[in-house]
């Protein structure tokens, strides 16, 4: 079972490595978008420190949605996705493998870049650590929910824009608990509850979203 997930993930990662620049585009978007905020809002350190968790999280949401349509698109174009659907392996494992690859290729770089953005916004070290940890828990949620959106909009003309509208409202809880943890740490409180809820969200989405994405793939390729 896990070998199937790993095979799919390894294949997608290999494909991503062949197109390195394309794979790093979400990261580029993340850095550019977050970097524009100080210029737009003004260089006041106090303000920047206050808006930093929200800015980093929202930019991560947008960056994840930007890349998520690619999860199934190229396989759909060359027809290999239909072959995968015909295979006797459960579709659920295919989706899990693709989600894993998407997270490793575009979620993890965001997590790694977050401390850097935090420094640019003048955040304190404990807040930066918390922010990175929340993103580590939160970005897989984005990949999971994004998979549902990507599967629903497969092959549509306006698919890339639709994913934003479909998936972003569903990511609100992750955004709330992710930024809430940083705010809590910043004001000297424990972020334990936020982490627990973020973890619970991850588990819920880990169980539900692959099923929904698999059903959506069946609908889209019916």
């Amino acid at each position: 079972m896990s070998s199937m997930i790993l095979t799919v993930a390894r294949r997608d990662l290999l494909l991503a490595r062949r197109r390195r620049v394309e794979a790093l585009l979400p990261l580029g978007f993340f850095v550019v978008a977050a970097g524009l905020f100080p210029i737009g809002v003004g260089p006041e350190p106090q303000t920047l420190r206050q808006i930093a968790p929200g800015v980093v999280w929202v930019c991560a949401l947008l960056a994840a949605m930007l890349s998520v349509t690619q999860m199934f698109a190229s396989d759909h174009q060359d027809g290999s996705l239909e072959q995968m659907l015909l295979s006797p392996q459960p579709l659920l494992l295919l989706v899990l493998g693709k989600v894993l690859a998407h997270w490793l290729a575009s979620g993890l770089p965001l997590v790694l870049a977050a401390p850097l953005i935090g420094l640019l916004f003048g955040m304190h070290a404990p807040a930066i650590a918390t922010l990175t940890a929340t993103l580590l828990l939160g970005t897989p949620i984005l990949s999971l929910l994004g998979a549902v959106g990507a599967a629903l909009t497969l092959g549509l003309r306006s698919g890339a824009a639709l994913v934003f509208l479909l998936v972003l409202p569903l990511t609100v809880p992750a955004l709330i608990f992710g930024t809430g943890a940083v705010v809590a740490v910043d004001s000297g409180l424990s972020a334990q509850a936020h982490f627990s809820l973020l973890g619970a969200l991850l588990i819920l989405n880990g169980l539900g979203a692959p099923l929904a994405a698999a059903a959506a793939l069946r609908i889209s390729l019916d």
Binding site: V148, L166, V172, I176
Partner: protein, 248 residues
């Protein structure tokens, strides 16, 4: 003729029956709307704290109820359409969505109109306002997705899946937003602590709710009939409808 639950699952029968029901729904809506507005604006006493501005709740509260109910109704029919492969249910779900979105918008808009004189601001990021706003986005997503897909079957099933995902997430979103709200700012406005309502106010609100339900039925049936005609345009009975009377 025996009537069963599935009688109106055939689009042609639904089309005929809904056409007969629509005028009655409009009549009920007009009757209860007139009664509700009269009770709300002429009989109900002026609130000693909020003055006459509070009267917008006779539109606002029923609209907010409808916005949530219609999402459930939409998801229900979409799910039935998906699981049982019932075309009529899917068409009905699609017909509900714009009305639900409209009531969500009315609830937000009238809330803003009420908030300005009462709270002194058009908008606060209160838990209810925020979750109602997200509900509007969910309606928007459903409508956009079903409109973007050309194949009616795929549109219906994809919409059904999205609506179900939305239904599962609405409570999570609501509670997370509520918690976020209490975390970020002390709740300056407590909707729950409103003074007990006078009986006439409650009557007016219930009358308006019946009016909105009847209106929803009328509009949804009308829109569903249009969707039926559109999606069944290559069937004989629709072509027969299009032919002028008496010709073959």
């Amino acid at each position: 003729m025996t009537l069963s639950l599935t009688t109106y699952a055939a689009p042609s029968r639904f089309y005929a029956a809904a056409g007969a029901w629509v005028p009655w729904c409009w009549a009920v809506a007009a009757l209860f709307g007139a009664a509700g507005l009269y009770t709300g604006f002429a009989i109900a006493p002026t609130d000693f704290q909020q003055g006459d501005a509070y009267r917008i709740i006779f539109i606002h509260v029923p609209a907010a109820w409808m916005s949530m109910w219609l999402y459930l109704v939409m998801a229900f029919w979409a799910a039935i359409g998906w699981m049982l492969n019932a075309r009529m249910s899917a068409m009905l779900a699609r017909a509900v969505a714009p009305t639900g979105a409209m009531f969500t918008f009315i609830a937000l808009w009238t809330g803003a109109l009420w908030g300005k004189p009462t709270w002194g601001t058009w908008w606060v990021w209160d838990a209810r306002l925020t979750s109602e706003f997200i509900l509007l986005l969910l309606y928007g997503g459903y409508i956009a997705l079903t409109e973007a897909i050309d194949d009616p079957r795929r549109a219906a099933n994809a919409g059904a899946l999205l609506a179900l995902v939305g239904v599962v997430n609405v409570p999570i979103i609501y509670f997370s937003v509520r918690w976020w709200n209490t975390l970020h700012q002390g709740s300056s406005i407590n909707l729950g602590a409103a003074p007990k309502m006078a009986a006439t106010m409650l009557t007016a609100m219930l009358l308006m709710t019946v009016c909105f339900w009847a209106y929803s039925f009328a509009v949804v049936f009308t829109r569903a009939r249009a969707v039926v005609l559109e999606q069944e345009s290559d069937t004989d009975w629709v072509k027969a409808l299009a032919r002028p009377e008496g010709t073959q």
